[in-house]
């Protein structure tokens, strides 16, 4: 008993010392490597910290490039509001890339761990205050057009399924009425998804009326896009269900 308590006491002590907030701020993977890193020689720590920060900056530049690529895939009429916003977004991304490149050059010159850590803090601050809000806006801009494209594909599929059901009903092999409920459900969901996408688009492009702006107070553009995309996912579940039901009715 004494032996068990002897082992348990330091363990309980350690659990008390590690507060929940400390656990929340440190990811699980970090906890595992923390001990091994404290045992490293100072020059090894500096080298590893520089490597990690270089990798973070390289990935940041890669991410900026990827976003630029995604923006450049969107084609809008010249002088349109969409084209203006796209140009603004590309300009912002160039600024982010310039910052990351400049920081990378600074990092190469740093020769103390504290300086590298300070630089990492600076990058983190920059990401939290400048990069992330900017990228969030750019992602919403990209996704609003992605949402539009996906809605087009889903509506196209719905049209084909409806045509098939009508064709089979004419042949007398199934009854359209048996599938009308599911088809109407899909139509309703796609209509709602299109309305949400339309409202979010007006707000993002800055062409929203006062009524549209009122809608934003209830639902953010992020929520609108999320809901719209989730509706499309649900609609595809309905399509698959319809496919199974039609096959069953045909005895296939």
């Amino acid at each position: 008993m004494i032996f068990v308590l002897g082992w348990a006491a330091p363990l309980i002590g350690a659990l008390v010392v590690i507060s929940p907030s400390a656990l929340a701020e440190t990811p699980s993977s970090t906890l595992i490597t923390a001990d091994t890193n404290t045992e490293l020689a100072p020059e090894e720590k500096l080298s590893k910290a520089k490597d990690d920060l270089t990798k973070a900056l390289d990935l940041s530049l890669k991410k900026v490039d990827s976003l630029k690529g995604r923006l450049n895939e969107l084609n809008f009429p010249a002088l349109s509001r969409e084209e203006d916003l796209k140009k603004d977004a590309l300009k912002d991304l160039d600024e982010y890339a310039a910052y990351y490149k400049k920081t990378k050059t600074s990092l190469e010159k740093e020769d103390t761990l504290d300086a590298v850590k300070d630089l990492a803090k600076e990058v983190k601050e920059y990401r939290d205050t400048t990069y992330t809000p900017g990228v969030e806006k750019i992602i919403r801009f990209i996704l609003i057009f992605y949402n539009e494209e996906v809605l087009g594909v889903a509506n196209d599929r719905l049209g084909k399924i409806e045509a098939d059901v009508k064709k089979l009903d004419k042949l007398g092999v199934i009854k359209e009425g048996d599938f009308r409920g599911k088809l109407d459900e899909a139509i309703g969901l796609l209509k709602e998804a299109a309305d949400l996408q339309g409202d979010a688009k007006k707000i993002i492009l800055g062409t929203a009326s006062s009524t549209d702006s009122e809608k934003e107070k209830k639902l953010s553009t992020k929520d609108m896009i999320e809901k719209s995309l989730n509706n499309v996912k649900t609609v595809y579940d309905i399509f698959l269900e319809l496919n199974q039901n039609v096959k069953k009715a045909l005895g296939l």
């Binding site: 970090t30 990401r127 992330t132 996704l143 084909k160 098939d164 042949l171 595809y236």
Partner: protein, 162 residues
């Protein structure tokens, strides 16, 4: 007694000499010879037609049974081929499209959630750690948000671990 036995034997031996009457022999021979060359009676045209139809019917019946038994399964399998082309509920195309769209939308939702819900890189890394334990969605390794997750993780590592 002995004498009567002898008489009987003599009479029996005499039976070997018995012969049919000449007239009977002549009539019988004539009848036999006449019947050997006589033609078989021919059935009438209706009888022959009925026999022929019966054979055709039997053949058709066997062939029909053969088709039903042997080709029945094949017909069942090829039922879908008899239907008009169905572009909307074409299972293969629909499944491919649904999979692609679901996967793509999940990536985008992941991206929106990563930036939308957690404003600072620390918030995002904590969320990433806690999500890993129960996330129903597959971990997205080659996505946009995965890149940002890795960047946030590396920055926190440099600041807190060395």
């Amino acid at each position: 007694m002995r004498r009567s036995n002898k008489n009987i034997i003599e009479k029996l031996q005499g039976l070997r000499r018995i012969q049919p009457d000449n007239g009977f022999v002549r009539d019988s021979r004539r009848l036999i010879l006449a019947s050997r060359n006589a033609p078989m009676p021919q059935p009438g045209i209706f009888v022959r037609a009925a026999q022929s139809l019966s054979f055709a019917f039997e053949t058709a019946l066997v062939a029909a049974l053969f088709l039903v038994v042997i080709l029945g399964g094949v017909f069942g399998l090829s039922k879908s081929l008899l239907l008009p082309p169905l572009q909307g509920i074409d299972e293969k195309a629909l499944l491919t499209e649904a999979d692609a769209i679901n996967y793509d939308i999940n990536l985008k939702l992941d991206e929106i959630a990563y930036f939308g819900n957690h404003k600072t890189s620390t918030d995002r890394v904590v969320a990433l750690g806690s999500r890993g334990a129960y996330a129903g969605r597959e971990e997205l390794t080659l996505t946009e948000s995965a890149t940002d997750k890795e960047i946030d993780k590396l920055l926190n590592q440099v600041i807190n671990e060395y």
